[in-house]
């Protein structure tokens, strides 16, 4: 790569020894179109978000220095805690369920099944569909009286549910239907939030399936043949071969699903209504809270940035934590 060391006749530019600065500037000419955009629309806004979180902002105008005071306000902001709780519910339901379902389907699809291509196409279809269309169609599916889903659960002998309009926690509802007294604080996410989780799972499953399929196809067939000859059963084969060898993929899927789930916004924004985040605030999530503070109610962009940075710290620390803890147990073949 070091052109300076080679004698050149054909190209005069190369016969001169390019200095460090020259090389740097030359490379910058190629990087600049991308770099300018990334710096202006990514780096600077991110730095600005830090900056503005130390100021009081009203209607988009800075009105005073707050220092860390706004971060302190977060601690006693019940709406913030509520949206953090709802977001956490969203993540801890989405990640394991998505992982479980997509791994099972990927393993089944990997069994040299006929028409694999057709299934792959179908499972992946929701991933390329816009979230706005997904929200509209699922809102219709969840309609309490005219929705398809209530017709389906009705055939299973379940009374029609309110879905997106149901603020009761799902555990409370289950306990109530079983006639058990249940503490309110253990009620769990509202059925409305669970409905959004289901829609989100449906939309994202195909992506994880494709990632798992790619991972599974990287496992050498010989391992399975050896296991079969040694008389290993299916369950044993899974735990001794598939699971350890797929762990880098699992690791990736868990991290990505977690990061993306923490940022849920569009489905909540479009599927819950008047006011968004309803019923009774049980679907209000962090990013919607940021949006509401920063754009809808009074342009309090300083406080919105505080919440956004909390979200960032959560996402960042989860990534670092998972990297540290899980990577130790991940097998790389």
């Amino acid at each position: 790569m070091d052109e300076a060391k080679r004698p050149q006749q054909s190209d005069r530019r190369l016969s001169r020894k390019p200095g460090k600065v020259r090389k740097f500037l030359y490379a910058m000419a190629y990087i600049a179109p991308a770099a300018v955009i990334i710096i202006v629309f990514r780096v600077i806004p991110i730095v600005a978000a830090f900056g503005v979180s130390f100021f009081y902002v009203m209607m988009g105008k800075i009105v005073g220095f707050s220092g860390l005071a706004q971060y302190g306000m977060l601690l006693s902001d019940s709406e913030f805690w509520l949206s953090l709780l709802n977001t956490t519910y969203f993540v801890i339901w989405t990640v394991p369920v998505s992982l479980f379902l997509s791994l099972i389907i990927a393993i089944l699809l990997n069994q040299k099944i006929r028409a694999l291509g057709v299934y792959r196409t179908i499972y992946f279809l929701p991933v390329v569909t816009s979230l706005v269309a997904v929200a509209i169609v699922w809102k219709w599916i969840y309609h309490p009286r005219l929705g398809l889903l209530n017709s389906f659960v009705g055939s299973l002998g379940i009374d029609p549910l309110m879905w997106l309009e149901e603020p009761k926690g799902v555990f409370s509802m289950l306990a109530a239907s079983a006639g058990i007294a249940w503490p309110k604080w253990l009620g769990g996410p509202s059925l409305a939030l669970v409905a959004i989780i289901i829609t989100n799972l449906w939309r994202g499953l195909g992506y994880n399936i494709i990632i798992f399929l790619a991972g599974l196809q990287n496992i050498p067939v010989e391992y399975y043949e050896a296991a079969r000859i040694d008389g290993a059963g299916r369950v044993q084969t899974f735990w001794k071969i598939t699971w350890p060898l797929i762990s880098p993929t699992t690791f990736y899927v868990v991290i990505m699903t977690t990061i993306v789930s923490f940022q849920v916004f569009t489905l909540v924004y479009l599927m819950t209504g008047s006011p968004v985040g309803g019923p009774l605030g049980t679907t209000k999530v962090l990013v919607y809270y940021i949006f509401e503070k920063g754009f809808e109610s009074g342009g309090d962009m300083g406080y919105a940035s505080c919440v956004a940075l909390v979200l960032f710290v959560i996402v960042l620390s989860l990534t670092l934590f998972q990297r540290k803890v899980i990577e130790k147990r991940v097998h790389y073949s």
């Binding site: 179908i122 279809l125 309609h143």
Partner: protein
């Protein structure tokens, strides 16, 4: 015997696939229904009239098309998507080339710094981006929709990976033979990297077709809004014209689904590739 053992496998896969596809069928089915038909509670296990309406109408499509200025929204999206796809291909190729083949001070540091920007949630930079765009006087212009998306870090990353698989010997040989550096990118790297460039183009295309939050915030006039924002009016509306809503959703997803069906192998492999970096 072996065949019988495989029945449960097929059953799970088929049930899953039906779950994936039913919302689309239900969307289509409703879009052809008369308003009266949409007010009859459906029966999940009944083909008619739940799945196949007794009376098929097309007026929902006509009305939805005119209820909000969809022709304008489509035009806006096509302009936006076209510029972004072309721009991303150019900026990513140039930057990835430098990061892959040039030897300069700070190469890895700058690259890793850019990559680290990807982990920052959009919610963090959305508010300041809005402030910057208003400062530039770009809010509610095409510039606000297009320029910030002309460079995409992940595309640079993918393309750099690809360029690095092409031996440096080619690069050295080409330069010795008098090929300019830009010429090497255009004549050698680009033709050898077509699949990755298609991947990047597809991501840019799907991304700009489906983008919603950004244009929602950065534009406020109908003249500039893209289709997803137009479609969202149907979601927020408390109205009861379900046929119209489903018709609007249908024609907004159809172009992407057509592209997907034509290029499904490339699309799926692109996404599969995107996960390898784990």
């Amino acid at each position: 015997m072996k065949y019988l053992r495989r029945i449960p496998i097929h059953l799970i896969i088929v049930i899953g696939a039906i779950t994936m596809i039913l919302p689309f069928i239900w969307m289509l089915s409703t879009s052809f229904k008369t308003p009266q038909a949409t007010f009859i509670p459906p029966n999940f296990f009944e083909l008619r009239p739940t799945w196949i309406p007794d009376e098929v109408i097309l007026t929902n499509y006509v009305e939805a098309w005119h209820e909000v200025p969809f022709p304008r929204y489509f035009l806006n999206t096509i302009i936006m998507a076209g510029c972004i796809v072309a721009g991303v291909l150019v900026t990513s190729s140039l930057a990835a080339y430098a990061f892959a083949k040039f030897d300069f001070w700070g190469r890895e540091t700058i690259f890793v710094f850019f990559l680290s920007m990807m982990i920052v949630p959009q919610a963090v930079y959305l508010v300041p981006s809005f402030i910057i765009l208003s400062g530039l006087g770009w809010v509610d212009t095409y510039l606000a929709l297009i320029v910030p998306w002309l460079a995409q870090i992940f595309s640079i990353f993918l393309l750099r990976q690809q360029f690095r698989t092409i031996p440096d010997d080619y690069y050295d040989a080409a330069l010795i033979d008098g090929c300019s550096r830009l010429g090497f990118l255009w004549r050698v790297l680009v033709p050898l990297s077509k699949p990755t460039l298609i991947t990047i183009g597809l991501f840019a295309l799907l991304g700009s077709w489906n983008t919603f939050i950004w244009p929602l915030i950065m534009t406020n006039s109908d003249k500039l809004r893209p289709i997803q924002v137009g479609l969202s009016y149907f979601a927020q509306e408390q109205g009861t014209e379900y046929g119209l809503m489903m018709a609007a959703a249908t024609f907004c997803v159809t172009p992407v689904i057509i592209i997907y069906f034509i290029a499904q192998r490339q699309v799926i492999e692109s996404y599969a590739k995107s996960g390898i970096k784990g």
